[in-house]
Symmetry: C2
Subunit: 141 residues, 2 copies
DNA sequence: TATGCACCCTGTAGCAGCTACAGGGTCAAG
DNA sequence: CTTGACCCTGTAGCTGCTACAGGGTGCATA
């Protein structure tokens, strides 16, 4: 049922198309050591196999979920230690979740302030503008 | 009641302390033309007046509210045109508000995904880890 | 066979918005 | 007269790409 024969090599463009990653980004990931350098063809073209496809897909998905490149690197490492407990994985994910929650809270505070500012603008002149006023310093000394 | 005599000049360090801005950041703002270059003392030290203090406070407050440097530049320009209608100010603020709302929505979608991922982790080995699994590609072909 | 075109290669510079040096000068206190 | 805190300029680094420039490769078509 499964097909054990190796997939034939993908060009960098193909790999990019299949993972939704720009070619330059793939080369960048290789340069910073996030994904392994693949074999080269006779003409010095990068030749990727299915393991690269899986790897890059993992990276893409992690990036889409907002993990930093360092976190992705750590997750990739952990994903390879299949017989170790997954507490470290959980820790990274939880830490990221907390960051995301912090950011949401910050942005919501921001939204409230901006909302209030915008609501007060009566479309007069700049001199009377509540937005400019809200941004201007009101020295308490 | 008001004190019309000019405040004596502030050093860049003082200005930084009063506005909560790092010295390097102030110099950076000057370099990119966001705030005007001040007069210099005999020893070539920057000497800031109250107008710089007000200006930088405005910048800080705008930055805290998440406006980009380009937006801050535009807001500063507009703040000077006191007799013009403030529609343009309103437009910048509204545009920013929309951006913030988009970001919140994006982050909330993210949080839901991360939440679901983290909730499924049963603290087994990496091989069984639902987080790793969620990140791994599941080829449909 | 030539040639055109899409693709690939390396290397470098740019984006935002700072931050952090290095390597010096200035100034007031003790 | 030295110490230490401050200031100066200039440049390089950070994240995570993106966009060239200036070439080489590979395949189809006239």
């Amino acid at each position: 049922m499964t097909k054990p024969q190796p997939t034939r090599p993908l060009s960098i463009g193909e790999l990019g198309r299949r993972t939704g990653t720009k070619v330059e980004t793939i080369r960048y990931y290789e340069r910073i050591g996030l994904i392994a350098a693949p074999a080269r063809s006779a003409g010095n073209y990068r030749a990727y196999g299915s393991e690269h496809l899986a790897r890059l897909s993992f990276v893409r998905r992690s990036r889409d979920l907002g993990f930093s490149l360092d976190q992705v690197r750590a997750l990739l490492d952990l994903a390879d230690q299949r017989d170790r407990p997954c507490g470290a994985v959980d820790a990274i994910a939880k830490q990221h979740l907390e960051e995301v929650e912090r950011k949401i809270a910050d942005l919501e505070a921001l939204r409230r302030e901006l909302d209030a500012m915008v609501a007060q603008c009566h479309q007069g002149t700049v001199a009377e503008c509540r937005i400019i006023e809200a941004l201007s310093p009101h020295p308490e000394a």
